[in-house]
Amino acid sequence: MSNWVSEHDIDPWQLIARQQSELNQAGQFGATATFIGTMRDFSDRKGLSKMMLEHYPAMTEQYLQKLEQLAREQWPLLDCLIVHRVGEIYPGDAIVVIACWSAHRRAALDACNWLIEELKYRAPFWKQEFGPEGARWVEENTDGHSQGKKS
């Protein structure tokens, strides 16, 4: 199981490379699907300077654990990585990285897509944006598959 919340900067490419190297199953996996969420300097407002990402300690970690477990039950994954930032984040910083390894592409792609949608829908994280007009809580995420709508 590889999922955690990070209070410090993350380098998604380094995390993915390290996880794959530790997987140590060259010849077994034929597909790696990844999702990296990065902070933009705009939302419906321009000129965002930073973001504060809050979480519910213990519940969030437990929820990420459950997501990984459910993904592994639904798809034949060789490995799975979920890392999410909390704290102060700046435009260009990675917010979340998800990677799935499987023998064939469909499992890795579908699991990766399902994981990010579920995470955005239910994992207890909250964003507060800072822009020229001050601080503002982001009220809701864009619709994803869990609401039955196109993201």
Binding site: G37, Y56, Q62, Y121, F125, W126, K127, W137
Partner: protein, 75 residues
């Protein structure tokens, strides 16, 4: 009897407190009413009991941790 109630994110700012200890409640709905001095409950508020999503008529027991928070916005 002791129930720990927590508020997160914009809801904490709105209610003006992050944590409250209650002595006697039977459901999460009652916990909201007591912890917020009967503040109106926004209809998108989410609730958890002991780190698991719950509903507003779910029973609460001694020692439980109840959390209220707005829609999540991670990812």
């Amino acid at each position: 009897m002791s129930i720990q109630v927590k508020f997160f994110a914009s809801l904490r700012d709105k209610i003006g407190k992050s944590e409250v200890e209650l002595s006697s409640v039977e459901t999460t709905g009652e916990a909201w009413d007591q912890a917020t001095d009967n503040a109106p409950r926004p209809n998108n508020v989410l609730v958890a009991i002991n780190l698991e999503y719950a509903r507003f008529d779910d029973p609460v027991e001694d020692g439980d941790e109840v959390a209220f928070f707005p829609p999540v916005t991670g990812g």
